[in-house]
């Protein structure tokens, strides 16, 4: 037998011996709970099990000692008499729903069929939306003939999101106010004053100041102003937002239609009262869709602009030169069905 084999055999035997006697194969005992108990005799157990005697109860409880009379007797607090509850009027039987409105399976959350820019909560049961919207009418003061006050038509229940029957999500409060953001009051526009042109080319840089002056002068002199560019201060972000919100409230998007795949840019001119001039709304360009979809998208954009102008968009009169001509892009990407 070779020496290596012997050494290997002895080493393996040693390893096996260490494993067996060293406890390598000994498993740890499984954990278990230990509760301490004490052994008692049957007599003791019987004694413990005997029902306890009920406590002795005195025949009559000792009369409590009367409290010492107070120096001043407190006056009784006068409690207001409850007003007589008015009898509730008899419930008016609701008119039967038309058959067309039958919903096969009532769900926990009622399905809201109307989508509007501002969600409207369910009107009370006794205030059903009328077919004809009725504005609130209050009697004229000093009128000779008696007039009845008319209540406004209850707002129709509406939501601002499409929620399919399959995906009913929790109703969320609007994340931001649908009102147009209020812009700060516009300061009177300063009379545009032409910047004086630098009289002469600055001398070669001999100091930091001259270099800076030269840079500023060059920037201000900059690119020549286009002849058509409006003069005066531009609209503030708030003023632009107000116009954006005003138009978007009238932009009705057919989210399931092909026109919702089209981005259109329209141009228009406004008069000084903020109204669109004549037929100045025209299609400038479009992205996506076929010709018919583009035309449909343009018509929807035009309707939005014309419908929401009412008596004219509220724009700062002193900046008319800035908003006389407008290019408006209608991009429905965020509203498409995803």
């Amino acid at each position: 037998m070779q020496t290596g084999t012997k050494i290997s055999g002895i080493a393996h035997l040693g390893l096996i011996a260490v494993a067996i006697f060293g406890g390598a194969f000994r498993s740890e005992p499984l954990p278990f709970e230990v509760h301490e108990v004490s052994v008692i005799s049957s007599e003791d157990f019987a004694a413990l099990s005997v029902p306890r005697q009920p406590p002795q109860i005195a025949d009559e409880p000792a009369a409590p000692e009367p409290p010492e009379p107070l120096a001043e007797t407190p006056k009784p607090i006068a409690r207001p008499e409850p007003e007589p509850v008015q009898a509730e009027p008899e419930p008016v039987p609701e008119p039967a729903e038309p058959d067309d409105a039958v919903v096969p399976e009532p769900t926990a959350t009622p399905e809201i069929d109307r989508v509007a820019p501002e969600p409207v909560v369910t009107p009370p049961e006794d205030a059903r939306p009328d077919v004809i919207e009725q504005a609130e009418v209050t009697p004229d003061e000093g009128a000779e003939t008696p007039q009845e006050a008319q209540e406004a038509t209850a707002p129709e229940q509406a939501t601002d999101r499409i929620v399919t029957e399959a995906v009913e999500t929790a109703r969320l409060a609007p994340l931001r106010s649908p009102r147009p953001p209020r812009s700060r009051p516009t300061p009177p526009a300063p009379t545009p004053v032409a910047e004086p042109a630098p009289e002469a080319e600055p001398a070669p840089d001999t100091s930091t100041a001259s270099a800076v002056d030269a840079a500023v002068a060059a920037a201000l002199a900059g690119p020549a102003t286009e002849p058509d560019a409006p003069v005066g201060p531009p609209l503030s972000a708030g003023e632009k937002d107000a116009l954006r919100v005003a138009v978007s409230q009238c932009w009705n998007v057919d989210v399931g239609g092909k026109s919702s795949q089209v981005v259109v840019t329209v141009a228009m001119s406004l008069d000084q009262s903020g109204k669109v001039i004549g037929n100045s709304v025209r299609l400038l360009g479009s992205e996506g869709g076929n010709e018919q979809s583009v035309q449909t998208a343009f018509q929807a954009a035009r309707r939005a602009i014309l419908r929401c102008q009412k008596t004219g968009y509220e724009l700062p009169a002193d900046k008319y030169a800035q908003w006389r001509d407008i290019e408006m892009t209608f991009n429905p990407e965020r509203m498409r069905i995803k």
Binding site: A166, T208, A218
Partner: protein, 439 residues
């Protein structure tokens, strides 16, 4: 250092220059709008002849009902109108219609001459003060006044939405009567809105899954007339039917026409295995499209006829697959939870409608043809069997209520998931199939 400072200032000045000055017209981007029905006014069409008064009223009502039924339009009723239209050719007083916020105005005139009915109409964009399209006239028989009204509504819908209409179309479906354990089924056909129901078969044998041909003149369906399911074809005009596919010892079902109408694809069960086959109607030759030990069924062609979507349980449960129309490798497109079945390719070609069963509920849903952007439109105890409107905008399906007294009825829903509404039928209904627009 000096040069560096000068460059820095020059850059800053140049950068700020465009912000301070506005170059050209004011530019605004609108990214949010509203989703609400478009208000329209449809004053009663002017009767050109005294005899046309009643039909003018009925016809106007059907046009308005068609538009309202889409969920995209809201009618401003006549009692709110300020202006009147007593002469079809008179100029429109836009201010009267703007005042009641009517965005679209439909004017028309009706004349009756014997059995001949003439309808003229125009559509106006009130706020633009312009006509949408140009005036159009339909002439037909007085008996077909409802179809005339549907055709007018299709034109109005198309001019406002820019898409084809679907009102002048029909639906073939299985009419159901009796309790669940003894249900009597027969084929019926009706206008898309549930009017003019006619029965095509009697209830002596079970009929299933009728499917219109591309020209709307024939209907394929599965009948148990022989005791086993076999495919029949029925001529809608003549109400004559014949067996299309019946081989000894086999069961054939789930037929559907190819877009060219020359081929029928269907499922054939043979020796316990179900595969898809194509039948050439001219030669009668049959071609096997799939060859798998699993069940392949419910095939539906893409509008260009190049592909077929179908359901198969080859992956262990029911899923949707797409393969070339002449067979070949199938690509799985449904990967969501639950089981998918009865896929139908949209006439637009962009979506596939399906039935989904998940967590004990049934849904009608749509997904892109690659399986992406899955959206569930409905949820109930049992919704199944979607079919597309000819314009690919609306889906009709069958909904069955729970319990022994449960009833199956037809419903329609817009692909946006809105405007879920029942379709009125005299009895229960299931397995609807929407025809193309009629000629």
């Amino acid at each position: 250092m000096k040069r560096f400072l000068a460059s820095l200032l020059l850059g800053a000045a140049l950068y700020s220059a465009p912000v301070m000055a506005q170059d050209g017209p004011l530019r605004i981007e609108i990214t949010e709008g509203v989703i609400e029905p478009l208000p329209f006014a449809a004053p009663v069409f002017v009767p050109d002849t005294p005899a046309a008064a009643a039909q003018a009223t009925q016809l106007t009502q059907v046009v308005a009902a068609d538009l309202i039924g889409t969920g995209l339009f809201r009618e401003i009723t006549a009692d709110a109108h300020i202006g009147t239209v007593s002469d079809f050719s008179a100029p429109i007083q836009y201010a009267d219609w703007k005042a009641i916020n009517a965005q679209a105005l439909i004017t028309g005139a009706v004349a009756v001459d014997g059995d001949k009915l003439t309808v003229r109409f125009r559509v106006w964009d009130v706020f633009s003060g312009a006509e949408l399209g140009s005036g159009l006239q339909f002439v037909g028989s007085a008996e077909g006044w409802r179809r005339m009204a549907h055709k007018v509504a299709d034109q109005v819908y198309s001019r406002i939405t820019g898409e084809g209409g679907y009102f002048d179309s029909r639906v073939v479906f299985v009419s159901e009567t009796g309790p669940k354990d003894d249900r009597r089924k027969r084929l019926a056909i009706m206008d898309y809105d549930g009017a003019n129901v006619q029965y095509l078969t009697d209830s002596s044998s079970i009929v299933l899954a009728p499917r219109f041909s591309p020209n709307g003149k024939q209907v394929l369906y599965t009948s148990y007339e022989s005791g086993f399911p076999h495919i029949h074809v029925l001529d809608v005009g003549l109400v004559q039917q014949r067996v299309l596919e019946q081989s000894e010892g086999t069961m054939s079902f789930a037929p559907r026409f190819a877009p060219d109408g020359r081929t029928v694809v269907f499922s054939l069960e043979q020796g316990g295995n179900t595969d898809l086959y194509a039948l050439d109607l001219a030669s009668g030759s049959r071609t096997r499209l799939t060859n798998a030990p699993s069940i392949e069924t419910a095939p539906s062609f893409s509008p260009d006829g190049s592909q077929i979507v179908f359901e198969s349980d080859r992956s262990g449960n029911q899923q949707l697959y797409v393969m070339p129309a002449n067979g070949g490798e199938a690509r799985r497109i449904s990967f969501g939870q639950g089981r998918y079945g009865t896929p139908v390719w949209s006439p637009r070609g962009d979506l596939i409608a399906f039935t989904k069963q998940n967590n004990g509920r049934f849904h009608i849903g749509v997904m892109r043809v690659d399986g992406s952007e899955e959206r569930l439109l409905t949820a109930s105890f049992l919704d199944e069997g979607p079919t597309w409107a000819p314009n690919g905008r609306v889906i009709m399906f069958a909904r069955e209520t729970q319990g022994a007294a449960g009833r199956s009825a037809l419903y329609s829903v817009d692909i946006s998931g809105r405007n879920l509404r029942p379709v009125r039928t005299p009895d229960g209904g299931s397995d609807p199939s929407w025809s193309p627009l009629q000629d």
